[in-house]
């Protein structure tokens, strides 16, 4: 299954600094094992643009669609056998401590 892993900040990061994982190790490990298909950090929300169409009119506005303290700062597209494997991949990501990770399965439209 494919999972989109949203990398988010959190207002209450972990205070335990022991054994902090390294993001480069995480990336190379999961790339090698074929569990990470792609991924990237995102520019800050100040560079975000929101696009809507209402009654045929294009509305372009500054910033993310909602002002929240927790923002998405990156993503990784995972390929895992099931949710348990995806959770194992996510728990080893540094942002599991410094922020939080949201796992969302992709819907296969060819199904």
């Amino acid at each position: 299954m494919k999972y989109m892993m949203f990398v988010c900040t959190d207002t209450e990061p972990d205070t335990d600094k022991a054994d902090e994982p390294d993001i480069d190790v995480w990336v190379s490990e999961n790339d090698t094992r074929g569990r990470r298909l792609e991924g990237s950090a995102l520019a800050s929300t100040s560079a975000a643009t929101t696009v809507r169409v209402r009654n045929g009119r294009l509305l372009v506005s500054d910033g993310p669609f909602a002002e929240t303290k927790e923002v998405i700062v990156g993503y990784d597209l995972l390929e895992c056998a099931d949710l348990d494997e995806a959770i194992e991949v996510a728990r080893a990501h540094p942002m599991a401590r410094a922020g939080r990770l949201e796992l969302r399965p992709l819907i296969d439209l060819n199904d």
């Binding site: 999972y3 895992c80 056998a81 949710l83 796992l103 819907i107």
Partner: protein, 326 residues
Amino acid sequence: MTDAPAAATADAVAAASTDAYARIVAALIRITGDWTLAEDCAQEALTLALQRWPQEGVPGNPGGWLMTVARNRAIDVLRRASVERRKLAELAVPALADPDPTPAEEVVDDRLRLIFTCCHPALSLEARVALTLRTICGVATADIARAFLVSESTMTRRLTRAKTKIADAGIPYRVPTGPALAERLPGVLAVLYLLFTHGYNADGRPAFADEAIRLARLLRQLIPGQGEVSALLALFLFQHSRRDARRDRRGNLLPLDKQDRLRWDRAAITEGLHILAETPEDGPYALQARIAACHATAASVDATDWPAIAACYDKLARIHPHRWSS
């Protein structure tokens, strides 16, 4: 047909279904991946037993009979839906003639798989409790709804949502192994604990205490050597031993010092003490069970070993009891 054989047949169906329901549902989920189909087929097998057994007699192996009927029913449904041959082939392998499907290791694993999937942390706690009652214990949705004070349609939606999430999120039908088992087990025990304490019948009595005890026994049998599983079962037995003494004639709750201790279930207490002796370590359930044991074995409130109880509470406070209830 007189009423007596009918009642005997109903008893035979009830006895067989208690044991067989979870086995059937768990096996059919593994093979078909369809939770609703599995439940429906198990239910239809029980209904058919109630119709047939009065005339034909109770079969020698009631559980095997029910499993075969449910499996054939699933084959019918799937054949009509014309699913791929692989699933059908797998269903057909343990043939009708199979006299006793119960000793197969696979079947035992299936029930454990079902428990761990129903109690997966990616499901909300209330969904885990409802799913466990419906799928493993075979409790009717209406009864679960009544005990948790929600409408039947709300409970139906909750169950449907949980099953959809299992399929969509890719929650595996698997028993975790190695360190993952130790990580996941407290979550399973938390569901059993909620099942024991949080559902009530209209008369204020716990609705699912018997189911919780049955599941704790099953878990202890399927994954032996887990101290906290034994401790939880012992805790249930101690608390359940007071079920007949807990209320006065008008149904008001009686505190411990007002209860008639002669009405406590001695057999349950003895069994609880025996099981609790298996677990020397101080896990959260072991400590609670030891507190309950102090009460259960005291002749009166004054004769209770209060220093031992205080010591257990001290230890409980030190191990962050809220961690395992989340």
